[in-house]
Symmetry: C2
Subunit: 146 residues, 2 copies
DNA sequence: ATCTACTGTAATTAATCAAGTTACATCAAA
DNA sequence: TTTGATGTAACTTGATTAATTACAGTAGAT
């Protein structure tokens, strides 16, 4: 498949909404920052709205975060966009009549689950606020070099 | 994309080789356990050989683990099959002239890296030996119920 | 009231990727 | 030398996702 950038782009949208919360934000303006089409942005925003992360109103270009950025973690955004998708895929079609084939996927599932939880714990340690602060510091550094 | 089961199938192959190390193992026999074609198995075995996890000899059906199963971790197998593939995809095409678009992917990259390492540390905790023992215990449990 | 600009969403297209398949050269061993 | 393997390249098929097209519904200014 084409690799999915939904998670990254969704984080981008939320950060953008927060950073530019004082100006009018049409899906077109956001799309210009993410470098995609306005429809793709609106589609992702629909997902974020369904997950309770933003509030939008049809017809008006005023998306708002539904929570304080310190209350939104990368994991919240991950769940919103990817749900419970595994990060390591099992092969559910192995031969059940073989000792290995009949047991391995179930066993692997528990190991994968442990690894997935470890990754998600890390995602849960970072808030949207942390991310935005880091972005702004990085930008200051860029400016100081010119 | 279709989700890739290379990692899971490669683990399967290695476990199968170890469990049935005393009998002749053609790619056809292994394919029957993984429930795929012999060519797919040989392709994966080529990758595992290149990574130094197995030894094979063209023409003879005698694949062997190149290391003791207690010396092969799930992470070794992950690296062999997936290399340094990210588990969370960045969008490398965001607008560089925007404060958010110009900095976010680089910042996200570090957070993703932390999460990826956390997951890999977990994968590195489990050896092929552990996996096989768990499979065999699970099989014993199944048998006892009949 | 009615433009204009915008959101929400469905349907289609195009690109990408992995497994499956076909084909065949090469090697091992009886 | 025949049979049964491996190794690998080339092509096909299926699945997935962003991009695109189209359009109905809403908000707000004039």
């Amino acid at each position: 498949m084409r690799i999915s950038t939904r998670f990254s782009d969704s984080i981008h949208i939320l950060a953008f909404i927060e950073v530019y919360k004082d100006i009018k934000l049409s899906s077109d303006v956001i799309a210009n920052s993410v470098n995609t089409s306005a429809v793709v942005i609106r589609r992702l925003m629909g997902v974020l709205r369904a997950a309770g992360l933003i509030d939008t109103k049809q017809g008006s270009a005023e998306p708002k975060l539904a929570k304080d950025p310190s209350e939104i973690t990368l994991l919240d955004i991950y769940f919103a966009t990817e749900g419970n998708k595994p990060i390591f895929e099992l092969d559910k079609n192995t031969n059940p009549d073989c000792i290995v084939g009949g047991n391995i996927q179930e066993v692997l599932g528990t190991y994968y689950e442990d690894a997935k939880i470890a990754a998600k714990r890390k995602l849960n340690e970072t808030t949207l606020e942390d991310l935005i602060e880091t972005i702004l510091v990085k930008q200051k550094y860029k400016n100081s070099k010119n």
